[in-house]
């Protein structure tokens, strides 16, 4: 189940999965020890020898302490929320520790997909300190987003330099959590007012129209005020208007953004329209060259629209 190299969900870190190296301060201490040792040899000073070996022993002991600080931690779940391109995506990482002892100065970060060199120390995004005082702690990793589309959390990097800062221990967690990055809403074009052959706010008197797209047969239990009396009178059967609180419908069409040349700008504009429509309580549908979504309203519908826009591949 869990590979030995990198820890997966809920498997606590064993000492084999923890990498340890001295930090540059550890290297500095080694230089100091060499200097003290030279002094001890030169002056044949017993206490100088003792000091050198005490500090050397301290360095060796801290290897164990730092490894022990990370050992036993496990990644026990990640929850995520979708985000818009340009704003950071929030991944809440739940870290559990198998023992009740507190751990200090543990940092969690995400390996940035650009895979920069580790010695340049900018290979990590979203570094955060994890206070591990309880068996289950949660931290929010704010992953920067630039492009729309799917975003995988990927590999997480957890490290600690406790207690002396001379040695760094780190380990990796693989997380399969992913979220969708919606396109950044932008654009200044006004909302399209393509109303379908239905009406605004109730009764419209368009003469010569017999088929009303927004009508349904009456079902017992439907609110009486939704009954469309003229149509009822005409059809001699109870007819209600479409069972939504708002009845204005607009269509968000790809073709309506032809004024913008860049396809990303067009996507952004559509996103902006969708959010405005949702805010105004309108019903809206989406029509893209390759896909479309029927009219709807509400949060789920909005999410569907945004997801479609996020995944849309304009190069098709």
């Amino acid at each position: 189940m869990a590979s030995s190299a990198h820890s997966q969900d809920a498997a606590p870190l064993t000492w084999r999965q923890v990498y340890i190296l001295p930090t540059r301060y550890g290297g500095g201490l080694c230089l100091l020890l060499a200097a003290i040792l030279l002094g001890a040899i030169n002056y044949d000073n017993a206490l100088a020898y003792l000091l050198c070996f005490l500090l050397g022993g301290l360095l060796l002991v801290t290897l164990i302490h730092t490894c022990h600080n990370l050992q036993g931690l496990a990644l026990s779940g990640v929850t995520d929320k979708p985000a818009f391109a340009g704003t950071p995506a929030n991944f809440v990482v739940h870290v559990s520790s198998d023992a009740l002892r507190p751990r200090y100065s543990v940092t969690l970060a995400r390996l940035s997909p650009a895979r920069r060199a580790w010695w340049r120390r900018n290979h990590l995004d979203a570094v955060i300190e994890v206070p591990i005082l309880k068996p289950l702690s949660a931290v929010a990793l704010r992953v920067p987003t630039t492009r729309r589309g799917p975003l995988t959390l990927g590999r997480l990097h957890i490290e600690s330099c406790f207690p002396l800062g001379l040695v760094r221990a780190w380990a990796y967690f693989d997380s399969s959590a992913h979220t969708i990055v919606y396109p950044r809403p932008a654009g200044t074009l006004p909302l399209p007012h393509h109303l379908a052959e239905g009406e605004e706010k109730g009764l419209g008197q368009t003469p010569g129209q017999d088929d009303f797209v927004n009508l349904d047969p009456y079902r017992p239990g439907d609110p009486l005020r939704a009954i469309h009396w003229p149509a009822t009178a005409r059809q001699d059967a109870l007819v209600v208007k479409k069972f939504h609180s708002g009845s204005v419908e607009i269509q968000l069409r790809w073709s309506a953004t032809h004024a913008l040349s860049d396809s990303e700008a067009r996507i952004s504009q559509l996103t902006q329209w969708a959010l405005s429509a949702e805010r105004l309580g309108l019903c809206y549908s989406l029509e893209l060259p390759t896909q479309s979504l029927p009219t709807g309203q509400g949060r789920t519908h909005c999410e569907k629209v945004l997801t479609l826009l996020a995944y849309y591949d304009s190069l098709v």
């Binding site: 809920a10 026990s76 779940g77 929850t79």
Partner: protein, 313 residues
């Protein structure tokens, strides 16, 4: 309710007889029958979600008959009013008074067929009565019989013109099961053999209300050890933070799980509950309580992932 519990061995004997008898009527669906019986003994309501014609009604009738309980079937329609379910006071001209007519809900096993065709108002009347185990008519409270079960059925495909139960109401059902099509052998037997209804009529009840009560009391005596509670809590905690699940399990779900698991242990003839029992009832008990984040995931898949990611302590 003050019934004497019996030994787990005796309980198992009786229950296996019940299962066997039910297996003769409903062919080839031993797991589902077992789960359905578990649901009943655990005192919870059952939701059967399936395409029409696979034997939902038959199952309900079988269970009722073999358990020796009163059975009533109620076909829900879209014009059903709460009064049709609960009952109403009807004016009798000759006595010049209102007489209370109890609705079909006053029975021990109620089959609420196609519950998703009723209006939300009718649905809520039924669900409230299920919860309270009593009905208030004209200001007077009438308790429902003991034991009382609702076996509701729902057709998952037919969404047009229906009012599917919302998630918050699904929670009231202990289990959600689906029968699915029978296997070829069973289907052959079904086509060739006796009609199920006749068969059912000719069978004798194996339990009665008293025995039923005793069995329920025995469930309460099934021992639950601390490690098992640890495992249950780990499952609940995991469901709340898993990235696949939108909302986690509530404590009510945990109580339901435990009760179902204990009943399952009893069916296996054990006096104590094991983690395997929890795992066995998990899909049916929480399948309808979890909402996946990724709508492509089926609830079976979701539950399987949950089980796989929680080690048994």
């Amino acid at each position: 309710m003050g019934m004497e519990p019996i030994s787990s061995g005796a309980a198992q004997t009786v229950l296996s007889r019940l299962l066997e008898a039910a297996g003769q009527v409903i062919l080839d669906k031993h797991e589902v029958i077992k789960l359905a019986v578990t649901c009943l003994i655990a005192g919870g309501h059952l939701l059967l979600e399936d395409v029409p014609g696979v034997g939902k009604t038959t199952l309900a009738q079988t269970l009722a008959r073999l358990s020796g309980l009163d059975f009533q079937r109620l076909q829900f329609t879209s014009d059903m009013l709460p009064a049709d379910i609960l009952g109403a006071s009807i004016y009798h001209r000759d006595t010049q008074a209102f007489a209370l007519h109890r609705g079909p809900i006053f029975t021990q096993v109620l089959l609420a067929d196609e519950i998703n065709r009723a209006t939300p108002r009718a649905q809520s009347a039924l669900l409230e009565a299920m919860e309270e185990r009593q009905v208030t008519l004209d200001g007077a409270t009438h308790p429902l019989p003991q034991p009382f079960f609702v076996i509701a059925t729902q057709n998952p495909l037919e969404q047009i013109g229906t009012y599917p139960l919302p998630e918050s109401q699904l929670d009231r059902f202990l289990m959600r099961l689906s029968l699915d099509y029978p296997g070829p052998q069973a289907e052959r037997e079904l086509l060739q053999g006796r009609a199920r209804r006749e068969m059912l009529v000719s069978m004798n009840p194996i339990l009665d209300a008293v025995a039923f009560g005793q069995l329920q009391a025995t469930v309460d005596r099934v021992h639950v050890a601390d490690p098992l509670i640890d495992y249950l809590q780990a499952l609940l905690a995991r469901s709340r933070i898993s990235s696949d699940i939108r909302h986690g399990l509530s404590p009510r779900a945990g109580i339901a799980l435990l009760r179902a698991a204990r009943t399952w242990s009893l069916l296996a003839g054990r006096g104590h509950c094991l983690p395997e029992d929890l795992q066995a009832v998990l899909p049916s008990v929480i399948g309808h309580r979890l909402t996946p984040r990724d709508t492509a995931l089926s609830s079976t898949e979701l539950v399987a992932r949950l089980i796989a990611s929680v080690p048994i302590p």
